[in-house]
Subunit: 362 residues, 2 copies
């Protein structure tokens, strides 16, 4: 038996409910291999704040360092309480430091449109059918981590942020994007704003240099404003989208819309080694927490990505992804996926039921 240590940050609100299903499916998948999982609970987010007065205790970080991978639920509070001390610091004190501490510069966000959910998309079926794109987002540099200032200049407040990129930061993620493209459809679209931003000019320079080593991959360039349009008008034109931290944040949320529910998508954050952080791209959905109606698929697909990227268990990852696809094809739905009148009410499942259905379909 090969024992793997998985650190689990449950997250807030719906976090614990959906993470439980991810672990259920992971364990079931493990039975098909020589892998066993040692689950290490890690305290962070709102939960930790209540107990320790901070969002990411040093003890959590130390324990996380002993793990092979982290599975993380969504952190954050309800809209009306975001300014409270419990919630206001969660991004700056937990989410961003976690990414940076482990050097996780590559964030992968895939958008796939499932045929069985085609009607769910706000975008027309003939536009979104067959969409399968991967956003490769830089995650530990750019304006997220540049110098920040809040000054008073001549009697008025002036607040600023710096978007800076070094060529090595761009090159290492560009290499990743080209490698992924090779195992997909051989196309990389760099998205930046080079007609306005100097940092985008560097992205174009360095990515073009990197492309020289990947003659089999087509490199395309698009300004971010145009990309925001093209994602909705003609999303099938994209294979791999390579972009900065800020643009990746915006475009990946936008792209997730194509599928019809943000409850479907996982993300992987990777550094140079096999260690990875896996988390749903959606938030903690306080409005539906504790009612067993949240969709656990994003969390379950996080487990698949972990098997693929950290443990090199491609076949097992695909097995989970197929189980998800099959469960949807059989008509099973959580509430976010359910269309009144069109879907079968007998197949409307709760969070745990969906987890069981997918585990059963493995």
């Amino acid at each position: 038996m090969d024992m793997k240590r998985i650190g689990v940050l449950e997250g807030d609100y719906i976090g614990p409910e959906i993470m439980k299903e991810a672990l259920r499916v992971l364990r079931a998948a493990g039975e098909h291999t020589q892998l066993a999982f040692d689950i290490v609970p890690l305290e962070a987010g709102g939960q930790a704040y209540d107990k320790y007065g901070c969002h990411l205790p040093a003890s959590t970080l130390r324990l996380a360092e002993t793990c092979d991978a982290l599975l993380k639920g969504p952190f954050g509070g309800p809209p009306e309480a975001l300014a409270s001390p419990k919630w206001s610091g969660v991004e700056q004190e937990a989410i961003l430091p976690l990414r940076q501490h482990f050097g996780l510069y590559t964030n992968l966000r895939e958008t796939k449109v499932f045929d069985s959910l085609l009607d769910l998309s706000p975008v027309k079926g003939h536009v979104v059918k067959g969409v399968d794109l991967l956003i490769v987002r830089e995650l530990i540099s750019g304006i997220y981590f540049g110098e920040k200032q809040a000054r008073v200049v001549e009697g008025e407040r002036v607040y600023s942020d710096v978007e800076a990129y070094a060529e090595s930061e761009i090159r290492r993620i560009a290499i990743r994007a080209f490698e992924y493209a090779k195992s997909r459809r051989n196309k990389v679209t760099l998205v930046a704003k080079s007609n306005v931003l100097k940092s985008s000019v560097l992205w174009r320079e360095v990515v073009a240099e990197t492309a020289a080593s990947y003659s089999e991959v087509d490199l395309d360039y698009m300004h971010v404003d145009n990309a925001a349009m093209q994602l909705i008008i003609n999303p099938r034109q994209f294979d791999v989208i390579l972009t900065s931290n800020l643009f990746g944040d915006i475009l990946s949320d936008e792209a997730s819309v194509l599928s019809g529910s943000i409850g479907l998508f996982p993300s992987a954050s990777l550094g140079d080694g096999p260690f990875g952080l896996y988390e749903p791209i959606h938030g903690s959905a306080p409005g539906i927490a504790g009612r067993q109606i949240a969709n656990p698929i994003s969390a379950i697909l996080c487990a698949a990505l972990m098997l693929r990227y950290t443990f090199g268990e491609e076949a097992l990852a695909v097995r989970i992804e197929h189980a998800v696809r099959r469960t949807l094809e059989l008509g099973y739905r959580t509430r976010d996926l359910f269309r009144e009148g069109a879907d079968d009410p007998a197949k409307l499942l709760g969070t745990a039921q969906m987890g069981e259905a997918i585990a059963g379909a493995l």
Copy 2:
């Protein structure tokens, strides 16, 4: 007769074709009032580069200063030539300096979904029907105009841009947004990224302060990644969106998609006085230039905005907008609006024909 001086920057590629129709409709509209228009041709963009070796000759700027308003066509070259000296500098040397020189800090971009074009949208009809939103974008500050550096640090290139906002820059445009909301549906949604950017924190502070003087207007806040989703999932929730230069660039292009063609939308750029710069939001479309197939509606609606914001001729502006709406309702289409099989081929119009139809419908 009240003589108004209109500076016309024709623009590149389809620019001259569509601007001609804007002027046709403007003249026809003028016949219904005491206004007469003195058209002042201004050289800028690729055209000017060929003749003078620069994109915005000083003589153009001097002449523009004598005008009451500017009507501008799209500048720019074909994708494959964007790196050439003729095209690479057009944004930094013409578009941005024009905005800054005249202090045009408010950029207005409306997205309306015409009932008669509902089928054209890539987004489903029940989602986009009735959409009517106004993006109020800050236009002469932020990362577009902050300090830019291209340095070599420890042997590698590091390029950077600064996003900085001063409270006075935010307050003046916030006031505009609240004023527009008062004459619309009394709702302002501020879009920023305050969980990551200091500058966004200042936007929240100053906009909340401004809101205190507008008790009749609801103020809502959304992170930009969420806004990029909400624009497609539920666009009718928006009335006025207030945002920074960069986010406004991205979101306004994205929003234009809802209508089904980017050939429909004008924009107004305003400062403190009545002077304004009016331009389509789309590009110069080199691929279809010179063939009389471009859609002149964006340019024609620029003329309407000019009458509204610079000349205070609200009734005349509405008259043009109604003429456009009626022409579309009668089934007339340019090629970008035409759906094979659904629309009447006898009503497929060229650029000038569409201009004539709208002038005739006034």
